[in-house]
């Protein structure tokens, strides 16, 4: 289902539409919630709030408006609302003192995390598996080949293709002219 079809399905408020959007974007929503909140339980709450709020507001998603940035706004707001409601952490400081006040990550860094997760989720499964092993698990190509029981040439070619796709999808974040 392409983005327009996904948005159309979601706009109806149907269970199928919600499921399709959840399947595509729940990982990204969870990733940014975890980035803001640093707690898996709270991040799960933020995912739940995000999809309920999105479902309630589905009628406001105008035809032609991209779904992903719209959902990002709802998800970030849900996470920051939870951030503000939980215990405040360090004691507030004197007005004249610029010292510690805990704040959530910046808008830019949350947006980056969102785009990276979406790019990873858009990789073909076999390429995503190699990228995950390399970056998340910190394995070399040889170690990945051994772990996945495949020729090292296959690992290298999948890694090469995957990183080219990632560079294509994320180049604007690195301010690299595509």
């Amino acid at each position: 289902m392409d983005e327009d079809d996904l948005a159309d399905a979601f706009r109806t408020g149907s269970a199928e539409g919600v499921r399709a959007v959840y399947e595509r974007y729940s990982g990204a929503v969870f990733a940014i919630a975890l980035r803001v909140l640093g707690d898996r339980d709270l991040a799960a709450d933020a995912v739940q709030v995000t999809f309920l709020n999105a479902w309630r507001a589905c009628g406001t998603l105008e035809p032609g408006r991209p779904l992903a940035p719209w959902l990002f706004t709802i998800a970030r707001r849900a996470a920051i609302d939870l951030y503000r409601r939980r215990d405040r952490g360090p004691e507030p400081v004197e007005p004249a003192d610029d010292a510690t006040i805990t704040l959530p990550p910046s808008m830019d860094s949350i947006w980056e995390a969102w785009q990276i997760r979406i790019a990873l989720d858009m990789l073909p499964a076999e390429e995503r598996e190699v990228v995950r092993a390399q970056h998340f698990a910190g394995l070399t190509h040889a170690q990945i080949a051994q772990q996945l029981a495949m020729p090292i040439g296959t690992v290298k070619s999948r890694s090469h293709r995957a990183h080219r796709r990632l560079a294509s999808m994320l180049g604007h974040l690195a301010e690299v002219a595509a």
Binding site: S26, A44, G171
Partner: protein, 215 residues
């Protein structure tokens, strides 16, 4: 090697000799940050199994159709729709004159935390760029109404000094305050709210109740 090929190579292998192509410092920093984020465990985390079931169960309990927004949200939505229309026109004009927007959403949010003078207070400032300046929606919670003879004043501060961006009292209860600024967040990155006395003195009292300043 093109810039995009360089980025792909950097994401895959990290820094290494890549021939004649050399990115500028900002692109190199951004690429390094992206590569770091690829290794961030949070970026790979999956939501708990069964969470979707909880969401659909909640939706089922609430009925078969989405609920209608309350009055205040409708009001905010109406304002945002007008602004979105203006933004769309500006965006169309930008395309015509060849400006390409390459980064995220058009608005910027800044979170403010309460100081010891107002520890229960918090706020989110939503900044919208307009042809007249920055329109700022300050959504305040936990800040008491100012007593008679006092008011709150919002400021943007930077290396060049402080610019007042509006005053308010919240005597009608907590909510969204509309502020305007002629200076940018890039030049004046600190947003604060002070408590002021009605004494005719235009200078800041220094009694900061909300701030986005952090280490």
């Amino acid at each position: 090697m093109t810039s995009q090929e360089w980025l792909a190579d950097y994401l895959e292998h990290g820094a290494r000799e890549t021939g004649p192509y050399a990115p500028d410092a900002a692109s190199a920093d951004a690429a390094r940050r992206l590569r770091g984020l690829l290794a961030d465990p949070d970026g790979w985390a999956e939501p708990p199994a069964g969470l979707f079931g909880q969401i659909t169960a909640t939706i089922d309990r609430k009925g078969a159709t989405p609920t209608v927004r309350d009055g205040r949200r409708r009001q905010i939505k109406a304002r945002r729709t007008v602004r979105a229309g203006a933004v769309a026109l500006l965006a169309a004009a930008a395309v015509v004159i060849g400006i390409v927007v390459t980064r995220g959403p058009a608005t910027t949010d800044v979170v403010l935390a309460g100081t010891r003078l107002a520890p229960a207070a918090s706020a989110t400032a939503e900044l919208h760029a307009t042809p007249s300046g920055l329109a700022i929606e300050l959504d305040v919670s936990g800040l008491p109404a100012s007593p008679p003879g006092y008011y709150y004043q919002a400021w943007m501060k930077g290396p060049r000094g402080a610019v007042a961006i509006g005053t308010f009292h919240l005597r009608g209860g907590p909510g969204t305050v509309e502020l305007w600024s002629a200076v940018s967040l890039a030049d004046y990155p600190a947003i604060t709210v002070t408590r002021e006395r009605e004494d005719g003195n235009p200078a800041s009292s220094g009694q900061v109740v909300l701030t986005n300043r952090h280490p």
